[in-house]
């Protein structure tokens, strides 16, 4: 349903006075999501996870430039098409509950989302009530303002807003942090159900453990590149033997229930990217060839990896 190929995002910044510079924050992102599938996107903060979501929805700040290829249902996604599709066929579950309108009661906000996706007001009202019932929100909650609902309820309102229309691609940007564990399980279950109904779900998260509960495939981002796309079942032993990229292995081994062994260092800053592999300075498997050029994303053991040593 969605194909992202070689996506790059850069920002124009003012340095001194009127002198500008280009800061490339996403260099080579690749991702595919099909109907009926949950694809998790994991990686450290600053790896470009949220920017991908914002690029898909066309809500990047005005000083951003996007290049690469976005294809949705076989057709190229350009800014005009994104604008006509978002909220209708592509919906976002945003990261922060502050995305709700603070001055409007939550029921009408969900109803408005239904209207924007084409429903007439009476039908939209019914859709809103169905969405509330589905997410276990009582009818009286609809009359509350965002500041009057708890964090968990606000999350469910955001879920209702994104799913009240007929969107076929749902992009969920960190929908679970700060929620009670039982609510996390609920939220993830809802996302899985959406996929099982034939939608494509992209779940952006830093919590691999949560992602693995529902994802079919996991894409791992590092410093604005896709370093690996693996099946969820490849994450099965504490060593991560079936994983392909050394960063994926390190991330998996760092979990407290696995080895709790961190990898020293940080991602390279976007204004000082190395010319070779972006992970070379932290990689335990590095050889001189790694620094010669950026590795391409290639197919290894039914997965994708951007590493010449895999």
């Amino acid at each position: 349903m969605l194909v992202v190929r070689n996506l790059a995002v850069s920002f124009t910044q003012y340095e001194v006075g009127l002198k500008q510079r280009q800061l490339t924050v996403i260099t080579q992102l690749d991702l595919e999501a099909d109907a009926g599938e949950v694809v998790a996107v994991v990686g450290a903060s600053g790896s470009g996870k949220s920017l991908l979501a914002h690029a898909l929805l066309g809500i990047l700040p005005p000083n951003a430039q996007v290049s690469g290829e976005l294809v949705f249902k076989g057709q190229h996604l350009d800014p005009a098409r994104i604008e006509s599709l978002r909220g209708r066929e592509i919906a976002l579950i945003p990261q922060s509950v502050s995305y709700l309108d603070p001055l409007q009661r939550v029921g009408p906000q969900v109803q408005r989302a239904a209207q924007l996706s084409g429903a007439k007001p009476p039908a939209a009202k019914i859709l809103q009530q169905q969405a509330f019932a589905r997410y276990d929100l009582k009818a009286r909650v609809g009359r509350l303002f965002p500041f009057q609902v708890s964090g968990g309820m606000a999350r469910r309102v955001l879920l209702a807003t994104a799913t009240v229309g007929q969107a076929e691609l749902i992009v969920a940007d960190e929908p679970t942090p700060g929620l009670h564990p039982t609510v996390v399980v609920e939220t993830l279950k809802h996302l899985r159900e959406l996929a099982d109904e034939g939608k494509a779900v992209i779940l952006i998260t830093h919590d691999i453990e949560a992602a693995l509960q529902i994802a079919d495939r996991v894409a791992v981002f590092y410093a604005g590149t896709t370093v690996e796309v693996a099946a969820a079942k490849d994450f099965d032993d504490p060593e991560g033997t079936n994983l392909r990229h050394p960063y994926t292995k390190a991330l998996w081994q760092a979990l407290p229930q696995n080895k709790f062994r961190p990898l020293a260092g940080t991602q390279p800053p976007p204004d000082n990217l190395p010319s070779g592999c972006l992970f070379a300075d932290r990689c335990p498997l590095v050889i001189p060839e790694c620094e010669a050029g950026r590795p391409i994303l290639r197919s290894v053991r039914a997965g994708l990896v951007r590493c010449i040593r895999a």
């Binding site: 450290a44 600053g46 979990l255 020293a264």
Partner: protein, 202 residues
């Protein structure tokens, strides 16, 4: 020893108690976990232990003395959201050096880069800012550290990296650490014992 005796807390006289009769203690050099579902008042308890709240009943003592009313508090709290725990109008250098000057080895262990010092807080990511907040709290007069969901919003690698540095520092300086978290595998990995707030409250 950091000791809480018979603590009870409510927001106002006409409001119900959030919890009553909580007693716990942390020895120097000990790493203790505090778990419990969200909304139970874990952060409130953490704030009381670090001297941020004064309207409670019961006692908090540190080496048999009450917490100091002014000056450097020997019990330091690290908050879940670092972006809300730093002054947005101060550069990172001001934030970092407010209480003390952290030594190079600590900054290196935490991965605090010198390039961040001249930036503003909104120019760092959550993980980077949390490293600064941790370095700020580990002053020479800190005897106890309370980590309230310190690494919940971070990726696994950054989480392990920060904890490795904090535990190393705690061991060298014989600090007591209270780890507030609902992440059971993390508590199991870090702590010598885990207190369930549900079990100790009334």
């Amino acid at each position: 020893m950091l000791k809480a005796t018979d603590l009870s807390f409510r927001y106002a006289k006409d409001k119900p108690w959030v919890w009553r009769g909580v007693s716990l203690s942390v020895e120097p050099g000990e790493v203790v976990g505090l778990s419990g579902p969200s909304g139970l008042g874990k952060t409130t308890l953490a704030k009381i232990l670090a001297g941020y709240l004064s309207y409670y009943t019961g006692q908090v003592t540190y080496d048999d003395k009450p917490l100091p009313k002014n000056g450097y508090c020997p019990v330091q709290l690290i908050f879940q959201h670092p972006e809300l725990a730093v002054n947005p109008r101060w550069r990172i250098s001001q934030v970092l050096y407010e209480g003390h000057t952290p030594d190079e080895s600590l900054l290196k262990a935490l991965g605090v880069s010198s390039g961040w010092l001249s930036r503003w807080p909104q120019e760092l990511s959550g993980g980077e800012l949390q490293r600064v907040a941790v370095a700020r709290a580990l002053g020479p007069q800190t005897r106890y550290l309370i980590a309230d969901e310190m690494t919940t919003m971070l990726d696994a690698n950054t989480q392990a990296l920060i904890w490795q540095a904090v535990l190393g520092h705690a061991q060298r300086h014989n600090l007591g650490v209270l780890v507030v978290s609902h992440d059971a595998p993390l508590l199991k990995r870090l702590c010598q014992r885990v207190i369930s707030l549900e079990a100790v409250m009334q």
